[in-house]
Symmetry: C2
Subunit: 135 residues, 2 copies
């Protein structure tokens, strides 16, 4: 399989594949003409990379999974190093979520304060409507 076909079957681009090879993440054999040659195993590796990327893993974080598969293990996460990455990522996610929730609370507080200030200003500038109009 050549680079174009692999890219298409994995839903990515040739540029990305060349980049992964440059990182040593997904090296390719070469055909006689210099073209990169891939097999079904490479497709498996690539799908693993893509899945982890969708989870927000950096490319370096996918390396243990890829190497685990290449070592012949049934799954990319069959190795301790991969489990360690999972654990680190979960901690990272928890911290990030907590930080965002804290920021959200603060921004919401600012927003509500600003809206109240605006309404009070409007109420003081525009004298209240005639009482009768409230009915």
């Amino acid at each position: 399989m050549r680079i174009g076909e692999l890219a298409e079957r994995a839903g990515t681009t040739t540029r990305a594949l060349r980049y992964y090879e440059q990182l040593g993440l997904l090296p390719a054999r070469r055909a006689g003409n210099g073209y990169r040659a891939y097999d079904e195993g490479d497709l498996r590796l690539l799908r693993e990379i893509r899945m982890l990327q969708d989870f927000g893993f950096g490319l370096e974080e996918t390396r243990p999974f890829v190497e685990c598969l290449r070592a012949g293990h049934p799954e990319g996460d069959s190795c301790p190093a991969s489990l360690e990455v999972y654990r680190r990522k979960l901690a990272e996610l928890d911290e990030c979520i907590a930080r965002l929730q804290d920021v959200r609370r603060q921004v919401a507080g600012q927003f509500e304060r600003a809206v109240r200030a605006r309404d009070e200003l409007a109420a003081s500038e525009q004298p209240p409507m005639c009482e009768l109009a409230k009915e």
Copy 2:
């Protein structure tokens, strides 16, 4: 006030201030010798920028707040444009938090599945201990 003093009083760097000026976010008057000259109002603007940055606002998102203050309003968020930025940011935060929580669930699922697979493999390879040893 010159750039070094302003930077120190706002807890930032001269480099950042020059960058803000380059963006047109915090322009400076110039003294006769070409040095940038700032006043207390600029310090106020700068503090506003820094606070919003701490919330994760991009510099461009702080612009409405800064312009609101420069227009003479009492607070950076006294203007509708600033409130709009708050609203957009809250929506962004909500979406981001939801996405991260979803990812966290998926990663946790993968992790638990991988751990179970590992344990089952270990159990099948290492025959269970002698029943007597359990006591």
